[in-house]
Subunit: 340 residues, 6 copies
């Protein structure tokens, strides 16, 4: 089935006939008052979640799939307690899911173009050892397949397919600008560190059908996993200077800046401070923009953000020439603008 035939969850309305591929997020067996078994499921695609029920052939269908599987279904939409609910009439397990973006959001940017831009920046690395290390990654086909696809997080910033690439490119670009602005920085070290800093997320996260932490992600974390990935590549690079290796690994380990954010080491040289702040800036610009975009609160303030423990002011500043005609004094204007 093609995704164009798929009924997006957000578009399903009462009385619709529905076909599509959905991820089974929750699956429970219940029994009706008459004592017959039924399946109660929460299905999802990248646009949302919907409740679904199977009333027939439960004993036969239930063993075929489990939570986390994708099923190919037909059914119709009804309403139960003011919420839309699907009643499924046909169901089979989806064999091959060619398109992960059916279930996960994806970067709005062009992946191929981003990879090309990243290669361009990395070409500028002059130090032969760092260049060789970076090349080891870029020429590792298995790595690159995952690197193009991986998200940069489960939640908050760049938490979508392609997000890791988008974030890595943006951090490398900012690193390049910052290295130009502060000549005391070692440009090669900063850019190589920028490229490496989050690579461990390829292993920290699972992103086949939904973004979640892997077991080693939860137990070891992307900082330690990233250092191990560098160590693996270094095995093939004889004569790699130990001093450079240790500085690069420190850049990975310290890029969260403080112990309480999971860095086992805090920045101890200039490039480590710069990388930490650039990473923080890029994560916040992306994460906060998306938080504000997605916010559904009326007015100029977002809903309360638990992560940041505050409300955010939404909305662009508008040139006052455009939106007003004549306003007497500053003090009064202010009141008018804010409390209409």
């Amino acid at each position: 089935m093609q995704s164009r035939d798929h009924a997006w969850v957000k578009d399903i309305k009462e009385d619709d006939q529905v076909r599509g591929l959905y991820l089974v997020k929750v699956k429970r067996t219940g029994s009706t008052k008459k004592g017959d078994p039924f399946l109660s499921m929460t299905l999802a695609d990248r646009t949302g979640e919907i409740e679904a029920r199977v009333w027939e052939r439960v004993g036969e269908l239930s063993p075929l799939f489990k939570e986390g599987d994708v099923i190919d279904v037909e059914g119709y939409a009804g309403s139960y307690r003011e919420q839309t609910q699907l009643t499924l009439t046909a169901l089979k397990v989806a064999e091959d899911i060619s398109d992960p973006t059916l279930f996960m959001e994806a970067t709005p940017k062009d992946v191929t173009r981003m990879v090309a831009s990243l290669r361009d920046i990395l070409k500028g690395i002059k130090n032969a050892s760092m260049k060789a290390l970076v090349e080891k990654f870029l020429s590792d086909h298995n790595f690159m397949v995952l690197f193009r696809k991986a998200p940069a997080a489960k939640n908050f910033h760049h938490s979508y397919i392609g997000g890791l690439l988008e974030h890595t490119l943006s951090v490398c670009q900012m690193a390049s600008l910052v290295a130009d602005h502060y000549p005391e920085l070692d440009r090669d070290l900063l850019i190589t560190g920028a490229f490496l800093h989050d690579l461990g997320k390829i292993k920290e996260l699972k992103f086949e059908r939904q973004i979640d932490y892997s077991d080693e992600g939860r137990l070891l974390g992307h900082l330690t996993l990233g250092v191990a990935m560098v160590d693996e590549k270094l095995v093939g690079l004889k004569d790699f200077p130990g001093e450079i290796a240790v500085r690069l690994k420190h850049l990975i380990l310290s890029h969260h800046g403080e112990y309480e954010f999971g860095s086992p080491k805090r920045p101890k040289f200039l490039e480590a401070f710069a990388l930490h702040l650039i990473d923080d800036l890029d994560a916040k610009m992306n994460g906060l923009s998306r938080f504000m975009e997605k916010d559904r609160q009326e007015g100029t303030w977002t809903d309360f953000s638990r992560l940041f423990e505050r409300y955010f002011l939404k909305g662009k500043l508008q040139a006052f020439e455009e939106k007003e005609e004549s306003v007497p004094s500053g003090q009064e204007r202010q009141k008018v603008l804010f409390n209409p």
Copy 2:
């Protein structure tokens, strides 16, 4: 007296005849075992501090000056308990101190060129209101005199004459780059905020002969003082949009990022996060570079930094091609490089 005639403290050696203008940092009266009074002083110029004694005419000279004054002296250098000490033979209070850099370090950059660069960036502001506000400052002669001279801090970053201008320019330049990179940012707002964010330091600090906090600096702080300076300029700008005024003041108040760093408000919109991180980056690049330069610890690590509660790794990474000839394997190289 010209500063070229001045004997720099760091250059004074035993048996030198000495002339110069020095700041009186400590002044005490003692009495010799014979019961005669003498003056015991700590004198300073920007290169360091030195002990000095006056044994003659103490009753006549002592009332002429107090701590914080600059005195014009002659004397010779002796040694007391392994430290060089001046015995003064002539002393008068310095009337006019034309050159503050005799006592305080100054920016290594060209002030006039920095002002020109800053004006250039600020010219790029398109919003008429913000442009007018910025212009109010730039055309205020008294303000500009102080702005060219003020340091950005008592300690740590840009803590020298001209430091505030240097820091403000650098933050504006980075703000411009960051606004280019993240189109979701309002460029005018970010750059105007970058210009305004630390202006209150003109009042928070005293910098006539030594850099120290003023009373209103300690009691109110440069965030509150900066907001008041903006309010003062806004009085002359009829019809200034309240929405813009409030956002600009928030940029000033929130630029330390967290309550514990003295911000009464934490960042609540994108530009406030960006300004906080750019300011932090610029302060650290300058402050840490200087800390490392000034460090006198042998080896690759600085002395312990109380401010950052850590040691810093000094020294540029050197291309290994240059400094080594043949090194067997990565593991061993590392040991060689680090523990010579």
Copy 3:
């Protein structure tokens, strides 16, 4: 309509005919299973909130008002899912809301008498400059209109119409007692600071129909706004001593006591410590008393307070002579009293 004709939300019971003025807190459009539009609203007065529905003439009525407006309605009370719900039969937008206490709680004390008491205390200020500054506020008609009406907070303490006046008076009274008890305190400074400390709340909060933060309240806060209000008055007071001005502004800025409570400066002289502790005491006495009064938990302990992260012991201690007759030993009494 007079408030005496208004049906208080807390009094509405099933089958009542209802008339009243209510604030529209939430307003949504839904559609019935037949596809007809209906309005689903949450209405409120100061005694509570109630759900309401409009089933007729929705297209005509809906555009007339929005969330935050007050509507004048008629209808009857039914029940839906065990909750009382209004069905509205008539609805118009209320033109003039003369009585804000219809929607917001108000101080139980007499406003006119409180103003008189406050003026009395402030008359006691001997320092001519501080007296003049206070007088500037007291004689500012627009200020006094807001000052009589403003609450002292959105939640917790004195969070009702007139609360700011009540809190300010109480803090001034305590300041007077404390100044008598500790002669090392400057009485004028402490009382003037007590009067000024929270005035910025007039701008930090909106309190026309509901108490909420204003935009400048969220972005700047009442400490900064209060300092600006003082600065505005100082413009008209030539020769006001700078030393006094700075101390008064410090009292405002430091009255939360610690950075983490939003004070950009911590107390740096005796009166600042005293004001902070008196303010804290007054806020807690009022806020905790009300929390306990409103608590609906059975037994002697309140529900868990998230703000204080604890349970509170309710109820007055009773003189045991009155409530008991004969109790054997201390140990056993205790058990009897606590675990009946």
Copy 4:
């Protein structure tokens, strides 16, 4: 020996003949280059410390006393390395130290009058049980002897003989004023708690010749010791209501307000919050006043206080009428006043 015959340490000058009683704070045996033993001591009275040496009969004198003892000496003052030093010519152990204020500072207030004032306030307690408990303490002779003498702390506030009484009285007086101002408070409970809150300091501190912590003070603390002292008195009060006992003990345990200040329980009813804040206010008014008085820093700011991590502004505000004649505008005045 009478204290009027005692040479106060702060008054000793080179070449003085000296007699007095001094506390031996440090005592060490050294040997001269010739190999003869000598005693090197630090002696103290309440005005300061001074170095002393014994060169003769060391073998005979040394065993007679140890650190912490008081010795009755004669000698003369010389100078060693720019510091005054005593050479002792006669030395015996002081048998009876009738006057502890020779070695420790004492309250400037009249102890008898303070006890009378405290009894007056406590007479106002109406609840018979609380009255009886308080009376148990007041009529305990051994307790009262210690209570009149005990300091309220080793350092900071009321850290002198009679300090506990002075602090307890002041907190009771403030408690009475606060109970009048907030009718929701139980007056008897608050005043009884105010009387009891620090009584454990009688056992937490040693104050025979110097103020220091006792072993049980360091291991158990005055909160736990105070509760145990109440428990001891309750044994003799049959039928004491358990509810009152528990509330009073809670007042003792929670009066530091927060866990991090050593309170095992945080305040859980109104009187506990009030007592905590009154205690804090009284401690700060006394401790900060004394810190400022004792400060020897030139100018308007004290030396850095490690306890409070800040500088304090010293000095009373002066009525500007008195100290100035004509000053043009506010802005300029300020500079004049602050940076003379």
Copy 5:
């Protein structure tokens, strides 16, 4: 009624006829649409909670019992809104509740055997004073009745009948092993401290029908209550060495290790550190094991634990020989094992 006749809440299904003794956790009176009163209750036994309704004779039955009582009921199970609900047909207040484990979980271990094991360990105490103190507790019948029954906590670890005994025994056993391993520890002191450390929980908690805090528990806490219990026993032990008494009380007061966990004193000698860590280990082993056992989350991770702010990895490690046959390389195995 015997507990074998009791219908366990977790076993009740629709259409069951039900008899049993249940604790009334919530009791409210409602009125039907016709205006008739009904009782709405939440009933509980140790296996769970269930909703119940009484529709008949409400006026007569309601006054007979209140929340916290146990009622002996008959009724039948129906369904309301997809949840099972009882309709009661007979109801009386239970006179005598012989078996508290009807309502509270109990230790899986044999109480008599645990007491014997504990006595065995305590017999090993050699110091006569400590031995005598311990014996005072063991021979106090009223104490032992409560000690056998008390839980060690309301939530988390050993939060069931007999839990305090189980925890105390386990901590004493570990203390014995630790004292053997570290000869620098005073074995008697550590074991006596281990026995005493949590005894105050007998008073801190109520555990007649449900486990909850007592009033003195909330206001004083088990550390202070435990010290008072020791003090009570010491009254009967003339000549008990003060040094030992103070160390034992310190062990009780400091066993939470840090102020923020409610210890008014932090450990100050070796045994206090050891006891704190052993107690922490025992609490975590029990509490986390039970949290993992009770967790109903699918997969290898538990639900998020708010107490620990993390997810836990459930499940034993399985010897790979048993569960796999042939796996190529380490890297790939890992993926197979974690992301099936």
Copy 6:
């Protein structure tokens, strides 16, 4: 030279003729008043530090050695400013330092016996994979040479030659006891984790002549270095179960327990909590015992410990039967015992 010929620093007295091997900790060149160069050095062995001077042949000797080298010297002890000081008459660089304990303290335990005990415990591991991994380390000769010699820390606990082995053995022994006591623990996992947890310290620390951090130690830390050491061994262990590998690495990464102690992951399964607490217990028992032993403070309390921010109670509890004869009541005894 044999260490028996070495003059220990702590034994050197004025007028001694001295021979020995000393570590050069500080080396500076000065010039006498006559302008001749001299060498001023701080020399050290494991018993202390001493000042030394070279007045002759400075130009010839100075280039031969630098700070950190060991020199073989002859000289005599004089006195300068009340401190003993060496004047060196012969000096050569020590070629071969066979005995590192000349400069660093060493474990008081028998290294060979400790290795044997450790092998015994590790033999008990049943899981074939873990057994194989452990064996890889035990049979690695280079590793074992370092493992026998390494300290466990630069300061505080086991900070001496052989300390890592001593600590590792002790933690393994305790792990074995704890695994016996808590059957819910996986014994093999806990013991293998105990063995591995600190191995990274071999690389984190340098311990040739003095204990200090290595560069990679400061930049990466022993947690990350330990994980890398495990990864290196795993390369040679085909078919090592990924699940076990990840759990073992988590044990290493989480053994500091909290982020703020440098653990990038906090414990997430039972064995990780147990290992953290056992490690903490062992470190404290060793570190605190040594701190108390080395303390030179008179009386029962140590000097203030900055690390723990407290004083410690020194000294064993003494059975009162032995030290006292007759003491009246508990209250008075206490005073006698504590304040003699």
